[in-house]
Symmetry: D2
Amino acid sequence: MSKPSKDIKKVVLAYSGGLDTSIILKWLQTEYGCEVVTFTADLGQGEELEPARQKALLLGIKPENIFIDDLREEFVRDFVFPMFRANAQYEGLYLLGTSIARPLIAKRQIEIARQVGADAVCHGATGKGNDQVRFELGYYALEPDIKVIAPWREWDLTSRTALIAFAEKNQIPIAKDKRGEAPFSVDANLLHASSEGKVLEDPAQETPDYVYSRTIDPEKAPDTPTYITVDFEKGDATAIDGKKMSPATLLTELNRLGRENGIGRLDLVENRFVGMKSRGMYETPGGTILYFAHRGIESLTLDRGAAHLKDELMPKYAELIYNGFWFSPEREMLQSLIDKSQEFVTGRVRLKLYKGSAWVVGRESPYSLYDQELVTFEEGAVAYDHRDAAGFIKLNALRLRTLAKRNRRNKR
Amino acid sequence: MSKPSKDIKKVVLAYSGGLDTSIILKWLQTEYGCEVVTFTADLGQGEELEPARQKALLLGIKPENIFIDDLREEFVRDFVFPMFRANAQYEGLYLLGTSIARPLIAKRQIEIARQVGADAVCHGATGKGNDQVRFELGYYALEPDIKVIAPWREWDLTSRTALIAFAEKNQIPIAKDKRGEAPFSVDANLLHASSEGKVLEDPAQETPDYVYSRTIDPEKAPDTPTYITVDFEKGDATAIDGKKMSPATLLTELNRLGRENGIGRLDLVENRFVGMKSRGMYETPGGTILYFAHRGIESLTLDRGAAHLKDELMPKYAELIYNGFWFSPEREMLQSLIDKSQEFVTGRVRLKLYKGSAWVVGRESPYSLYDQELVTFEEGAVAYDHRDAAGFIKLNALRLRTLAKRNRRNKR
Amino acid sequence: MSKPSKDIKKVVLAYSGGLDTSIILKWLQTEYGCEVVTFTADLGQGEELEPARQKALLLGIKPENIFIDDLREEFVRDFVFPMFRANAQYEGLYLLGTSIARPLIAKRQIEIARQVGADAVCHGATGKGNDQVRFELGYYALEPDIKVIAPWREWDLTSRTALIAFAEKNQIPIAKDKRGEAPFSVDANLLHASSEGKVLEDPAQETPDYVYSRTIDPEKAPDTPTYITVDFEKGDATAIDGKKMSPATLLTELNRLGRENGIGRLDLVENRFVGMKSRGMYETPGGTILYFAHRGIESLTLDRGAAHLKDELMPKYAELIYNGFWFSPEREMLQSLIDKSQEFVTGRVRLKLYKGSAWVVGRESPYSLYDQELVTFEEGAVAYDHRDAAGFIKLNALRLRTLAKRNRRNKR
Amino acid sequence: MSKPSKDIKKVVLAYSGGLDTSIILKWLQTEYGCEVVTFTADLGQGEELEPARQKALLLGIKPENIFIDDLREEFVRDFVFPMFRANAQYEGLYLLGTSIARPLIAKRQIEIARQVGADAVCHGATGKGNDQVRFELGYYALEPDIKVIAPWREWDLTSRTALIAFAEKNQIPIAKDKRGEAPFSVDANLLHASSEGKVLEDPAQETPDYVYSRTIDPEKAPDTPTYITVDFEKGDATAIDGKKMSPATLLTELNRLGRENGIGRLDLVENRFVGMKSRGMYETPGGTILYFAHRGIESLTLDRGAAHLKDELMPKYAELIYNGFWFSPEREMLQSLIDKSQEFVTGRVRLKLYKGSAWVVGRESPYSLYDQELVTFEEGAVAYDHRDAAGFIKLNALRLRTLAKRNRRNKR
């Protein structure tokens, strides 16, 4: 392992304002003796940001070294929506809510580092997870000579007790409920909340109800379905029930609809990039609706060749995002391919939301490729002669017949 | 188009006993003047088969030329289960319920043709659909010189009126409700029921409630969830709630559970192999539960490399089945790959069924690859050193850093 | 089969001026009674085009209905070069010389049809080959309602004798050497010449020497190697030995170099899209050099992620072109992906040409990703710490170790 | 980085008998103070093994701790041949000669470790290369708790001077020509020799002639071609010129033929798994002939669907082997798929070898799928009706026509 050089002048820390990153902040000051710049982003995690400023000031950060940004629109427009154009699901089920936020944070940290002349960046991800990889691949891809500090891989504060002791010794305020161990850990942004660890660590045990924060229990959802429409333009959602909205506003509204109908819970055992299996609980209320809606509009407007090619490449695309390769040439190449396909993915999808499910029940588009005349049982459509099918089948069968004869000849 | 030779001595007809295939039966006798052998299979479509025998006798088929087979176990064991090992979904959503039944029917028709010395086979699929392709590719792959008769591509009975007139002229009994046009057409077997045509032809319109036959309306499903367990051995389901069952019995029971909880409805616009889009309504109650259960047990027992390779190849595998290439070398090669992966896909999955949804809520296996020690936040697991992650990230980042330097050098 | 309507007013014929397309020309006039427009293209096949004009006039075509175009630059720039960016090889070996010319001919025929108000197009490809598919998919993709005439699938001139008789009856001049059957058939353009049929039909027999037209026998090639450099800009060749050339000029020069050194012969048994195997002899002198040169410059300038993604998708891309789907959304999507990767594929490759082989012996680029400091055995490069490799290996091994433990536990 | 524990009792060293691994041997004794077991394998590298035994004895290894195995047949039969069934080429060109030998060495080291009760294994690969990964992934996949010692990542003998000093101090005999730095480094086995480093480090410079050891200069090869036949059974070569041979004998003979005709040189810039580009010179004389021969017999006996699926998966399969994942579930799954396809890949290929090239000039098989009747221009083959092609094209074109109409409607 290449030990990070201690010779660091200024570091940009991804700072949430919580206890753990406050400890990191102080540790950076004491361990590295360097100037700390804090960066706090609103990605829709649902927490106020001003307390983070106050806490940073309290911990001695200079006002000009405190960066607080509302990145919600950029997050949805430039990261979430491009990913949803691909119908990306990791391991068949996971909508990548955590994975897709990391590259944006990394990108903004590097921008700030350039702006303030910092020579290092720091994140609070642990040494066993995917997030450290996602952050650091982002850093290096954007600023190849940046120094990276990952406290959880470096320090010896390896127990809750040690952390609390460090906090007390350094006069870091500790909220009462943070003294003990959390029963599970949470990551949240506008796309989803994920929970893992502790009470979730036995994959045989059902997730306790108190873990959920973004969705109500389907059993407590309304007894009558909610119908909505989602409009798309070139593959991106633009309106709900005919009302145009900005990307982040739209996702926020889909989240509200999903939450109320108990939509988007996923209990998953997944394979981490760093090599082990983990069990997580994801809540992606709006994203789940968006996923089905996008598949719905594509089903009407995308050609078979385009659709199947996308489907074949989706697992690889999702894996790249999961593994942290957003800023890689291969992700960008796949994005070019995907975006190319979305030119006519425009129209309206109608969905029924009900107690945990989102069903597409109708779709329409000025660019529809569905042709009722072609598909009807009645003869007469100009483009289709029933008898063409005979030749089509005959030539598709030709190689299979040749094979069958060969195999018969050789008494397979 | 190669017009089928009229010189046919004996033909094996896939015969349901319904009006359409009865008309075909008579038409074969009159048009081809050949001996007709009927084959009626129980694939779990939910209809009694003895009436088909009576009707065949009535239409002049010799008793020894009437074949009626219960293929339900073979269907589930040798077709449905192998396909579910792959988690096959066509166009991301469709569980291939119709597609997977066709090769078995084709195979049995060819077996009967060999047994009775027939030189031709005949099916009742129309000239615009996928089923004609699936039947005929199956026929040709198994018996390359067989003659194939596809009446819907040959005759001039192109309207309901013409069909009814032909039936009346030939003393074919017509059930009262068959005189008019059906409001939609249905295909059913133990895995699913599909409906399409007529009232379903406008993809913007929600499917009317009377179309559903295999599931109750989720809104009318029980207000409390049903919990079940499904056991797997080497990738195949073997027991429900700990009770061992044969493949067909198990799927029947899953169907009951799915039906009662309104699970497995799918309203889809799909791309047919013959080139147009169509809209269908699928009901796959047991299959939907099975799909999630299988993914659940795989999530615990399948290695990442194996799982991702399967996911990448799934779309192609599903496309092959959809397009009718079950009996092709490439499907068999993919099956070898898939089956190879299932050796340890053994264990128990717990699911919650509720108003249209089936959620995996727990899974356990003697072959689990999940290692709580590895994943826990605590340090100390023998196999994992937090600091290894630094080297892992550094080498994964190396090419991205080289790229970034190159691009920076060239002011991209 | 849908028989083409006889009700055609004006047809654009792909006309070579040779005996076969002259017979087609006359047959169109007599059988369809329609106005015939001839289109003759110079794609580098190596024949003069003016005789085609004379022959068309002789056969009664109006001067304004004769189109003769030099498409060589368009062919190389817009078809050959984009394809070579992908390193496309069908079935691992074939550089797609015939396949890539068809879409351009189809495109130009449709343009002329629009210009002259023709309602049909006609080609001279036979009913067993791939070219009919390539032409017609091109026609339909660009002009969906166009009528297509494929004489070889329609007429009864199914023997050489019948063709000659038709020609004589219709006063079509017959070159002396065209009376008998050709010993094999040839297709040629600037990229390659292909030969198939007759003397080549036994795949066990070596191709006779007189079949070759574009390359000299390697054994007769110079006894000393020829060294050249090829320059690339963004994936396309731009200069030979430092001398800038237009695309067609450059390929012509590479052909000369390849011919003289006996480079680019390929004796292949291939799988046709229409279902059977065929055996062909291809000569692609310049293209073979270009293929290796392009791989050479990519090896230096393309990132691993980009390169491997391209390699994985190449077989599908090549298959699409071979099968005639140049004008399909999936080919265009793949092209977007490929082109995206070529931004920095710029530099110079040095090759050694010698008696049938083209070896890359050197490559250099201002955008090189090769870093001698990184790769040298000496320690000290900033970007690489030997010890990082330990962590990299440990985490890559983690899942394999978990598997091994599981399997050991279960005495696999 | 997880520092290897010093608490090691017995280690199995992959020992060549050369200076470097002799230094490692001594370093293990002094640094780890553990018992050293040497393992020397004959993989066809072309060196005598007895001197390794003498040297090991001289360095104090007990006779019962010296293992010397001839693994040539196992190497070719169980590693090289299965890989060639896949036509594996890394990055389009490299036949993976080094990569495929590593898993066998790792496997045998682990077997010996079990036999002698060793708790560690050790290899002499450097910290910048792929081989360390290949060795160690093999070790861990087969024996998950084994300890691994990689001296080049641990010690401080980082210069030639330091190594020589260590050798002298420890009375390790130093061959005269080993005092200075080698002008390049070599790896060799029965499949190939690879050279890299030093004089090869500038990718713009042609490889000097003295680097080659396995092939004569094509310019000095015979002026007349050599014709040979290679027989295959189920995908593996079994005879040359009709003479049956064991796998290793056959590859040895192909090497002789390849060497004499200057076949199999490859000058490559490749992407290492550890993240950088390197430049290597490979000589794979017999393997190159075998590659083309295998493609030749497949072209005749493999169905299109099987062949194309193999081609699409080959890059991934080759990447797995290159990266060291031979003992992974995904490689084994792909192997199942590949092996499944080889059942009828049996027959004879005729090749022409001449001054650097190996051309297939003929192929024949009792299982040939090539059907002259199908492919001939003459009408009349039972299985093919020219007019079927019309329907085939029409249905393949249908979606493209629908697209064209949609796009035209929207004035794309």
